[in-house]
Amino acid sequence: MTVLSEYLSALNAAGIETTETGSLTPASVWRIPAIAWERAAELAKIRGWRWSAGWGEDLGERLQINALLEREGRYLLLRAEVPAENPVLPSQALHYPAADRSERHTRDLLGIDFEGGDGRRWTRHHAWNETEHPLRKDFPVGGEPPETTPPDHDYPFVAAQGAGVYEIPVGPVHAGIIEPGHFRFQAVGETILNLEERLGYVHKGIEKIAEGRDAEGLARLAGRVSGDTTVGHAWAACLAMERACGVEAPERATFLRAILAERERIANHLGDLGAICNDVAFAFAHYQFGRLREDWLRTQRALFGHRLLMDRIVPGGVNVDLDKAATDRLDAELNRLGRELDTLIDICDRNTTLGDRLYTTGRLTVKTAAAFGCLGYVGRCAGQGFDARRDAPYPPYDQLTVKGVVEEAGDVASRFWVRYKEICVSLRLLRVLLGRLPESDIRTELPPPPAGAEGLGIVEGWRGEIVTYVRFGDDGRIDRFFPRDPSWLNWPALERIVLENIVPDFPVCNKSVNGSYSGVDL
């Protein structure tokens, strides 16, 4: 019995009427009644399905809610509809804590009420009223904002109680060169009792301003969902659009995309390895890793025309190609980086003061990681090995072997080592990709999509699985765009990771997770 049919019979046994409405590659699509929304989640949870993404859509008279689940590399999209007049359905967050913020985001932007869930607002601060919903089609892009938007206030944080417990509010403007967000700590002495995150400060209306764009424009916007994941998000968005239009990027283009994505992974991991060391005052490693990252970015500037690789992935393919001299240069760079890393990692490993600060700090348990469905290095440090490149492969990874990296320690040190191991895997993949680069075009034309055509793009970004949903409206213009950054599932884990740690270790715990603010605020 496949995982799908097993779940289907469970739904049937529970009396939940399920209609299969075709598929949205790589997911099967099932429509269920809104009233069964929570029960379906409960049954999925028992069967080991992972909750991956959730979003809503305005279809006029009715609103559609989507929840994407995954098990053993099989994807299933659950759909329900509610009337736009009175959009209510039961929350899935009871069974999948990861669904919590997603549901609150959907409520703020579309006005869908999830009964039984956390009723507090999330993305909405004070730029629009409770009764207005920016993602409704009748809401104007410009909105009717106040003269000056007041700062967020009256947010019902969990309150501190008890003798000796005190509160530390931090942000939105932090002390370093970092994105804005607010953290509310409750501590006793140095020990953190509780942490609550309050994000949404960089919400810039990405989903709304995507509406009405053409394919090229959407790819550019997707490349700016999170600046450090420009390749990942642009790839996922282009894949979704290509599937909606029924075309495939040429083979060479898929190889080049993978080269860009692996390079992005390495660039970010190098930066993070250095930053983690820096947060525990091991400046030497910070500078060394920073140097390697800079070398890497300069090569990207020289060969691809952009240091961070923005706007290189375009609908239908890529807009950069590599000649023989370029692939030779890239190949040589791989060897150099490999050698440099060997020395550096050895120094880090033998540095006992570094070990003292990283081992056992900021532990994420396997249980918590599984409950939240943590992704990428955050999941992999605590037993969650899912890797879309290997478990739900898309071209060109369907022709390659991707070695899995999993640990169970779950501490900052583990997130450090997983990053290093992922670099090694990527170096190996890059060698294969460069060696096997097929001859073909690098771009194909997107045929005009029929109105209502939809597509799903799922790729493994450097932080983990990225899910992007796209639906076209009339004239090949975008009607709905929802990018789900892996940070959606990793941010909540940070609230657990820091518990029982001392306040001064928060920065290194935070850095080891390195969630994207822009990627979740949207």
């Binding site: 060169i177 994105e179 804005p180 810039k204 999170s226 970015l297």
Partner: protein, 175 residues
């Protein structure tokens, strides 16, 4: 004590070997000019407070790069500080999201006079890919006064350095 000194003398300087860095002549020239002006107008130390007011974080990555060993802006007297109270310059990125609007204004007010504001990146200069919407104010100058604009998406570290130099050019006038 004597034994400790002996040990120190015998050990000498033990720094990890670093591969020689190839310095970019353009950056060196810009940096020297920055240093000259910082020495003249800021007693050798220019303090910058970076504010992300809604960026995609791409600009931040390149600002970080200014501190890596290649650029190492501290050697030109430029420091990134943790509080606006310590700052001479605000380096602002992103289209200003309305959820950050008040925080940006407060940060500006908390910065002592005389102060300079640099809008960093296309988003900060003109709203960039995000523009003005129900939740975005667009360019930084729609919210606080801006002295210097550095276009680019994101601007490279060398371009950032040139932007800082441009801001220093405006210092004399304002003072």
């Amino acid at each position: 004590m004597l034994r400790q000194y002996l040990k120190m003398l015998k050990t000498g300087i033990k720094t990890e070997p670093v591969r020689k860095i190839v310095r970019d002549p353009d950056v060196e020239r810009l940096g020297a000019e920055v240093k000259r002006r910082v020495d003249r107008d800021f007693a050798g130390s220019l303090a910058i407070r970076e504010v992300d007011a809604g960026s995609c974080n791409g600009c931040e990555l390149e600002i970080h790069a200014l501190n890596n060993v290649y650029y190492d802006v501290e050697r030109f007297g430029v420091h990134f500080v943790a509080s606006p109270r310590h700052a001479d310059v605000l380096l602002v990125t992103g289209p200003v999201s309305r959820n950050m609007e008040a925080a940006l204004i407060r940060t500006y007010e908390a910065t002592p006079d005389p102060k300079w504001v640099i809008a960093c990146g296309d988003c900060a200069v003109c709203g960039g890919e995000f523009g003005i919407s129900y939740v975005s104010c667009g360019a930084v100058e729609n919210v606080i006064p801006v002295d210097v604009k550095i276009p680019g998406c994101p601007p490279s570290p060398a371009v950032l350095l040139a932007g800082i130099l441009e801001a220093l050019g405006k210092v004399r006038k304002k003072k």
